[in-house]
């Protein structure tokens, strides 16, 4: 056979492999965040009924922190919650809660039932602050540096692997950076 006879199947194979890679590698459900490297939005939210502190952007200045967007009606939030309880007990980094479009009654009950690892929780009743954070589903998690700049965003529930290989290393790196800058 002459070489040109192989052209149609070869062209087909190139296109098919290209499309397959696109399907397998790109995760269409995970929208890249526009806010990485940007300061957190300004907000000042009241606390969820039954918790002591409200939550504002000023709370995020001066130390590395985690912001976890959650809701009592969100099942994946319940799945990841024990890990946040663990992080809260560990005391390595403060975890702040952004309670997304939740009933106050349900949110307090949820926290009483499953544990409250949060340093402070803001009740985002109409979801506006979450929109400012670029949130499009719950749960979502942000790691924020000492200057209040968003450094990492995790979409969807975290698992132990993400926590130990992505979130906590980022936190430690940012904390080490703060110590280094403070020493100068």
């Amino acid at each position: 056979m002459r070489p040109m006879a192989y052209m149609p199947p070869v062209m087909f194979a190139i296109v098919a492999v290209g499309l397959a890679l696109g399907l397998l590698i790109v995760k269409p459900k995970e929208i890249p965040s526009a806010l990485i490297g940007q300061p957190v939005p300004e907000f000042d939210l009241p606390s969820v009924v039954g918790t002591p502190h409200g939550f504002s952007n000023a709370d995020l200045i001066g130390h590395v922190s985690i912001v976890n967007v959650f809701a009592s009606w969100c099942l994946p939030c319940r799945a990841e919650h024990p890990l946040w309880v663990e992080v809260g007990e560990g005391g390595l980094v403060p975890v702040y809660g952004l309670n997304y479009k939740d009933s106050q009654e349900n949110a307090s009950k949820w926290l009483a039932d499953f544990g409250d690892p949060y340093t402070a929780i803001g009740a985002d009743l109409n979801g506006r602050v979450s929109v400012d954070f670029g949130v499009y589903g719950v749960p979502e998690t942000f790691v924020i540096d000492g200057q209040g700049i968003i450094q990492l965003k995790i979409i969807g529930p975290i698992d132990r692997f993400t926590l130990e290989n992505e979130i906590l290393p980022t936190v430690q790196e940012l904390q080490a950076l703060m110590v280094a800058e403070g020493a100068e």
Binding site: A5, P28, I31, G127, R128, F133, G134, Y136
Partner: protein, 163 residues
Amino acid sequence: MQSLVRLWTGAFVALMVGFSVAAHAQVVTEIIDPPLENPVLEARAQAVHKLIRCLVCQNQSIHDSNAGLARDLRIIVRDRIAAGDTNDQAIQYLVDRYGDWVLLKPPFKASTIVLWLGPFLMLLLAGWSARAYFRAAPSQVAKAVPLTEEEQRRLAELLDPEA
């Protein structure tokens, strides 16, 4: 055999009709969020809604989507427009938070150049390869071969039996 074909054709048509009805039902969603009182501003807000991709159900605009977040974003766009934003400013407000992703029509820039020019490149490549392929292939039309003497004689006989 023929009845089987008819059965499959029937099933296929039924399925297609079903899909089109379902698609139609999705488009005619009830507007549950209150429109702006000023019809001019509301028309502008709706024009913006149609350009914004719903982040939950990603192939719909927030105008068409029933998702809770789509509703929230519709209301935010109305608030921005009512507060005096131009359409572009209202769109930019969402782009600042969600990136170019929220635009159903992506902008033409360095990161999207493959998206915009890719199809034309593919078409060029396809045209070039088809041309090369057909040029190299042997002609399907048989080369004309002159008639033999015997054939000439028979042809003459058929054309003019008198001779």
